[in-house]
Assembly symmetry: C2
Homo-oligomer: 180 residues x 2
Amino acid sequence: MIEVEVKAKVKNFSDIKEKLIEMGAQKIKDEYQSDTYFNAHDRDFGVTDEALRIREIPENSGKRFILTYKGAKMDDLSKTRQEVEVDITDSENMALILINLGFKKAAVVTKDRSIYHLDEFIITLDTVHGAGIYVEIETDVEDGKDTTDSLNQIFEIYKTMGIEDGFERRSYLELLGAPK
Amino acid sequence: MIEVEVKAKVKNFSDIKEKLIEMGAQKIKDEYQSDTYFNAHDRDFGVTDEALRIREIPENSGKRFILTYKGAKMDDLSKTRQEVEVDITDSENMALILINLGFKKAAVVTKDRSIYHLDEFIITLDTVHGAGIYVEIETDVEDGKDTTDSLNQIFEIYKTMGIEDGFERRSYLELLGAPK
């Protein structure tokens, strides 16, 4: 799956939340996300522009755990890239497997995320601990399909929201000063 | 976790099944297991004696998927080794993540396994497609704890079952002629 994604740094969320309601976006949920990033021993994901992480999300009485691989970004405008995810039952054992395979824990990124849906787009308002507040708009496109239309639509949504600058291609990991 | 395990090639299961009943072992279930093994690009798990696999087990209407890493064997007698497992929700995406990280599909091993419990030991009767029939006895020991007692008890169980030879340290993968 290709994740077509554009991120923008913003000053506050209040105007944006109003716009989202006007546009008919649906608030889905708020969640706290703790992402542990790993790096390889034989290549630097900061250089190859890949990412490997275990995400922990507190849910009801337990936690949801997701292992995610992200490939290198595919254009110069956005954060569009291959993304593969799998839910796992145990983050500690998953980390132990990765470490045994030669990966190293690189950094932890935590954020509070509010998630909205607008048609096939996911709009998130992220308060990234230590890195500020951001809006992300993303949608999924099948492998091999053209991403131009989706990308144009994302920039249209930003425009409607009154956001025309502050676009940011660096990951939260990079913005926090850690290797990607 | 350390998996203390001894495997033996046997001629038939009928006497063994009788012995298991006499010994008070409890039959837990029969299951079909399909194991896809992966190898690394930077080292040969056949040489380092590690293993990385995705196991698929049909269950009810769906499938259970388990990712397992096994470290090198820790003695010359048995298959005792570090084992780390995590349940995953999607074997295809897990395989795709591993392949993106540089691992390669090495082989698929399929077997029919009958699982018995006897105290803290798991006894399995395995019909391995293409490699014959085997009994495995295993138990888990915490990392860092001594495994001698468990190993002696496993050989005692084998003796009670009337099995005193045919012990096999090679994995099913090796027995099938594929790299470990």
